[in-house]
């Protein structure tokens, strides 16, 4: 069965002018995102990944090429709101995305803008808060919550608009390890249970472990695209573009260079241990 594409990026470039010189943040990219998939886009700061993200819901429009969201070109200004509704966006700093000082009122902001009925908004807000595990905090004020909790509220605010696709631009960069884990778990749950297409942009490689697909960007171009295991195999490529390589990968990579016959395409601690044990075992034979 052929999967339907929710997003089609066709020969897209984005250029900007600075001090009278033209720079390209994104260079001639082609990329299709399947409905219901979980894609991770990896890239270091300045690789063009944030610019690409902002082109996915029309916050930025491509200089050349087309971005098609569920059949709608983002250049169609009349469909601007529809596109923003279909592709929800979550940013890095949770503090700067929350508008109201009561959690449930903040989550209601999107649906209110869509002009829904009060009863419908109430249902969506409660549902969205439950899906990110923040329902019991609905009456709290955001500034008393942790970074991870605030970021989950920001996600709930988008989910309440019932988007087809969720784009997150480095949502974990300002969080502590606990907050990071909360966000990744929430995203996996939303993808599996609500079938929301997730595009996670990050420079932490371990966040890509559970993804269906990993796209690596560098200098405005896509330099690798495949299954997580395929991408992680290529540690030297990831390191050369300044990405965060987890220590498990680092260890396996170092062992391989020392002549160990280890599988290097794993990330979790359990699989890493198994990979090393297997390599040691084959050595003894």
């Amino acid at each position: 069965m052929k999967m339907e594409n929710i997003i089609e990026i066709k020969k897209v470039s984005y250029e900007y002018t600075e001090e009278e010189r033209i720079f390209a943040a994104v260079k001639d990219i082609n990329l299709n995102i399947e409905r219901g998939s979980f894609t991770v886009i990896l890239g270091h700061n300045g690789s063009g990944k944030s610019t690409l993200a902002k082109m996915l819901n029309g916050l930025k429009r491509p200089t050349f090429g087309d971005v098609i969201i569920d059949g709608i070109n983002t250049k169609d200004e009349e469909k601007e709101l529809e596109i923003k509704r279909k592709v929800g966006m979550v940013f890095q700093n949770p503090d700067n995305q929350l508008i109201a000082s009561i959690v449930e009122e903040d989550v209601a902001f999107g649906p209110e803008n869509l002009g829904l009925s009060p009863a419908e908004i109430r249902v969506r807000v409660d549902d969205a808060l439950k899906s990110v595990g923040m329902y019991e905090f609905r009456k709290s004020t955001p500034h008393r919550l942790s970074g991870g909790q605030k970021q989950r509220i920001a996600i709930a605010g988008i989910i309440a608009m019932q988007p087809d696709c969720l784009v997150l631009d480095e949502p974990t960069a300002m969080l502590d390890p606990k907050g990071r884990a909360e966000i990744i778990d929430t995203l996996i749950k939303l993808n599996k249970e609500k079938n929301i297409t997730v595009i996670l942009i990050t420079h932490y490689m371990e966040e890509a472990e559970k993804a269906d697909r990993v796209v690596v960007m560098n200098d405005g171009e896509i330099i690798a695209d495949g299954l997580p295991a395929e991408i992680f195999e290529n540690v030297s490529l990831l390191k050369s573009v300044g990405l965060d390589v987890p220590q498990t990968t680092e260890l396996l990579y170092a062992l391989k260079q020392k002549g160990f016959r280890v599988k290097t395409n794993v990330i979790s601690i359990k699989e890493t241990a198994a990979s090393i044990a297997a390599a040691l075992g084959s050595e003894e034979k």
């Binding site: 390890p177 606990k178 300044g242 498990t248 260890l251 170092a254 241990a273 040691l280 050595e283």
Partner: protein, 268 residues
């Protein structure tokens, strides 16, 4: 009123690298603000070179130049028109001026690799990583004998993190300063720290060498922390019946241990 930090006692020796770990809200940040007198303890004393830092409350600003504190996301404190002026803010507050001030700033800049032509640029035109470097220089320019960092690499990409860690070690080599680092990364702590302070709910839970701290994996897990990833991999190996040491914390230690194991097996 709740105590953010309660009944904490420890001694730090000159030239040591101390790591402070603990999850968010464990009192780490409050603790370090007591070290340079930004906060005054409601009970107990903070001694610097055997003297109570609050002995002469009017002189507390002098203490702040001897015990430097670099806050989280320090780039947000930049305010001057040029990089030079911003780095000079601290030393100027200490009373330096003229040639002395100029030398201090240029020396600091060259020590941590800020190019000369950058000094006249506006700090706001720099990239995120460069801004942080300038902000750290602003504290280092006071030549503190003890320098405290609150999550110095937060929000940076791997390249940026490496650069910041290098600055810290360069400063230490040049001045033999004592370094205290708050971090979430057990891996960094394992690789860097001489001793580690573990905080939980405002109390000091453990204060020991990385070997001893990371040997208490259970105790750490109970307070929401963990041992370094490599240590966990080795625990997994032991569970599979591979005889490896529990005292392995860094990638290089792990590689060394496994190479020995492999060679041992080949010999046998």
């Amino acid at each position: 009123m709740n105590d953010a930090v309660k009944n904490v006692s420890f001694d730090i020796n000159q030239g040591e690298i101390i790591g402070i770990i603990g999850h968010t809200g464990s009192g780490k940040s409050t603790l370090v603000q007591h070290l340079n007198g930004l906060l005054k303890p409601t009970e107990g004393t903070v001694l610097f070179e055997n003297e109570d830092i609050w002995k002469n409350a009017k002189e507390i600003r002098k203490i702040r130049s001897k015990i430097g504190l670099v806050f989280q996301y320090p780039e947000y404190q930049l305010f001057e028109e040029t990089v030079f002026a911003d780095i000079a803010f601290g030393p100027k507050n200490m009373g330096l001026s003229g040639e002395e001030l100029e030398n201090c700033v240029t020396e600091t800049a060259s020590l941590i690799g800020i190019k000369e032509e950058y000094l006249q640029k506006s700090p706001f035109d720099l990239s995120g990583g460069e801004k942080r470097r300038v902000a750290i220089a602003g504290v280092m320019a006071m030549r503190p004998k003890v320098i405290v960092f609150d999550e110095p690499t937060a929000g940076l990409d791997p390249r940026g993190r490496e650069e910041v860690m290098k600055i810290i070690s360069d400063y230490r080599t040049a001045t033999n300063a004592t370094v205290i680092i708050i971090s979430h990364s057990m891996e960094d702590m394992a690789a860097l720290a001489d001793r580690i302070i573990v905080m939980n709910k405002g109390e000091l839970v453990l204060f020991d060498t990385p070997e001893k701290v990371f040997a208490s994996a259970e105790a750490l897990r109970e307070i929401g922390l963990d041992v370094p990833i490599v240590t966990r991999v080795f625990a997994g190996l032991r569970a599979m019946g591979v005889a490896v040491s529990p005292n392995v914390f860094t990638v290089s230690q792990a590689v060394e241990a496994l190479v020995q194991l492999k060679e041992g097996a080949a010999d046998a």
